[in-house]
Symmetry: C2
Amino acid sequence: MSKNLTSRTEDYSKWYNELVVKADLAENSAVRGCMVIKPYGYAIWEKMQAELDRMFKETGHQNAYFPLFVPKSLFEAEEKNAEGFAKECAIVTHYRLQNDPDNEGKLRVDPEAKLEEELIVRPTSEAIIWNTYKGWIQSYRDLPLLINQWANVVRWEMRTRLFLRTAEFLWQEGHTAHATKQEAIDETVQMNDVYAEFAEHFMAMPVIKGVKTESERFAGALDTYCIEALMQDGKALQAGTSHFLGQNFAKAFDVKFTNNEGKQDYVWATSWGVSTRLMGALIMTHSDDKGLVLPPKLAPIQVVIVPIYKTDDQFETISNVANGIVKELRSLGVSCKYDHRTTHRPGAKFAQHELQGVPLRVAIGPKDLANGTVELARRDTLTKEVIALDGLVKKIDALLEEIQDALFNKALDFRSSHITEVETFEEFKDVLETKTGFISAHWDGTAETEQKIKEITKATIRCIPMDVVKEAGSCVYSGKPSTNKVLFAKAY
Amino acid sequence: MSKNLTSRTEDYSKWYNELVVKADLAENSAVRGCMVIKPYGYAIWEKMQAELDRMFKETGHQNAYFPLFVPKSLFEAEEKNAEGFAKECAIVTHYRLQNDPDNEGKLRVDPEAKLEEELIVRPTSEAIIWNTYKGWIQSYRDLPLLINQWANVVRWEMRTRLFLRTAEFLWQEGHTAHATKQEAIDETVQMNDVYAEFAEHFMAMPVIKGVKTESERFAGALDTYCIEALMQDGKALQAGTSHFLGQNFAKAFDVKFTNNEGKQDYVWATSWGVSTRLMGALIMTHSDDKGLVLPPKLAPIQVVIVPIYKTDDQFETISNVANGIVKELRSLGVSCKYDHRTTHRPGAKFAQHELQGVPLRVAIGPKDLANGTVELARRDTLTKEVIALDGLVKKIDALLEEIQDALFNKALDFRSSHITEVETFEEFKDVLETKTGFISAHWDGTAETEQKIKEITKATIRCIPMDVVKEAGSCVYSGKPSTNKVLFAKAY
């Protein structure tokens, strides 16, 4: 099995990169900035998808699929959105290869096969979707239109990191259309709440719900709501965003509807998305120097059973017991694997399951069986106990819930102790360098101050929390009046 | 609601196109040859995906995700594969847009942002995947490697039709690696069997399992297995393929493993896929002049309940009964919708559900309730009956199974009556023009004859059936000796 990981204190970034690769989650590919999501990593993503998809459907959304490509003329129709993404677009210009006359056995782009209009590989799908919605919406009866898409998108990022920032990534993007401004705003907030519930309930990752400042908004949005999480190194990570798009896209694509009074108006829009970036957030929230730590609700394998034996007879006896446990656990909906590979020794198996974050490990040897016990090991606390075989399944079922809660509470404690209220800019800089985490401070509301603070400290305003308290104060940088504090942090 | 469809006898192709659009399955997009899959169509695709995914996992496969782009140098590594797809590749050449100096508010491709190496948008992923497998496979212990990917692919087709042939389509592609030739062949056959089981059991679409001739093989394969279905217009449709790739890709990407005797050998490969083309096959197998007909196992809504009322009191009474039925049906795992929209009259609802192929419709009016009955309508037979409310749920549950079987048997009867054995080429041409369907005939085994027959009749060899009987004969075209009959047809 793999060598030890670099420790988090030694080099957090290196620890992360090593962990992603060694735990078989993902790896870099031959294509610049694009990753391969390996089966184990993909299995976690599938569990995330399943829960999110259920939550979207429960809130009335349907899935659909729109083209990968956006013709340039559509792409540029909503100017702010186009401007925001123009510098990171992969562009298809040709549709055919031909034999290279100068290079036997090689191909080259056929210069005759140039597209009349270039196609942008979608960095996000507002343009192509709103161009389609134009044909779907005539009357208030067609509204609200509540659609989600699971898709790949491409943003040509210069500096990439597995899961956190890749040129191609997988995501879902919701695109909804509404008759009124208020309904669209309500939808925007609702979906941000759905993301928060998913993050906290399934990822065991506490998040702060808030609104972005103008300079951090999605290109083309009137307001961007977000959930912000705190990683173990004290840096924030934007885990999901939900945008109130106003009538910008409806105007750019001329999408009007007849309201119930017979009058024409532009449609109100939202869009919202989370991506495989959540995998990075999940890893960095819980994992330790031994490897991945997974909340049971997203673990592809929740319990692994490892037999420890010397003789075939022992193996058979242990297997009988193990298979019984597997069966019982599965009937409770617990995913359990009996790891009876003969190619690996128990020690190597233990190391692998630890590295891959399997929440619970059951080891069964002949002595255990004689005593009617097994050894049960918890991945999150790295503790072991010998417990009675009798009642094991119930114990496991309860422990999985306990672990889920414990992970959330541990992450919540860490975050709670890493939100620091500061009054002066000296304090601000000091906390950012020494303690790290979120800084709650007054801000004068100007993009100029925000930019200055970013230049000096690399910290950005992560959000204005939804539950912010109105209180008069003076800006931590400019000293100008402020009506409430906002949350700053260095961020991924 | 929509006007009547063109009838199948009038213009089958027009009927299909109209049906796809009017039943809200898909539509053409602003991107040449790319479709938008609408929510109702996507819901059917999701049901297909769920069953296939389960079947893949039950046969030991795991999902993963590989990059959308293939660098040109990797793409051309396996020459036959590259040659096969070179003429239909979308090619990314640039990674940035800039403001167009000649066109205020417009963007243009930034000539400075040309990629050093062009990226092909995957038409299939053997190249990028086998380049990745090189890093994953060292020893026989790493084999077999059984991986599937759900993804979008792009093939720049010149003539496109919704679902049947689109520039971008959704599919799954399995890519497996094996230590021995036999194991790879067994996998190829197994996955073709999985496809056949899915087609027959879930799509209610009978298929013929067989092997392609050399000229119809996948580019880069040593053998292509397939399932072939027969559409109502007597044309065949290739519904799924499974390829034995030999060591071609292992050699192209230098993927060797150490076998259990310590010797190095190239790895054996398979790949297999089905796509959103199955949606076209599903539609054309069962639907009629009234619209879509769906097998219950793939219907997003299996039962719809429509209230017929004049007064609020009536509506309330009916709704109480309807909600009770919905609840009972859902507890049996039957998807049921109570269509209580006030924006549409019952007639319009009936027309819509008929057009969209909901297998069973329950209509409830005040008179029915007084009599303790409801009206139950079957979409497949277009028959109605008044039946007792008491026992309705059980009846519905049984009927859904009956409909599933009836659709399969109807399609099977049609196909059975459309496989014609012919001995002479005159007969061949006559059957093809008048009766249509599959033609079973002797063929001399040469690509030349196959090509000639195709030129003259437009019919191709669909497959050499798995259950073919060896029998000496003479080729229907050349008169040369033949060892068995093969299946010809015109095809989609």
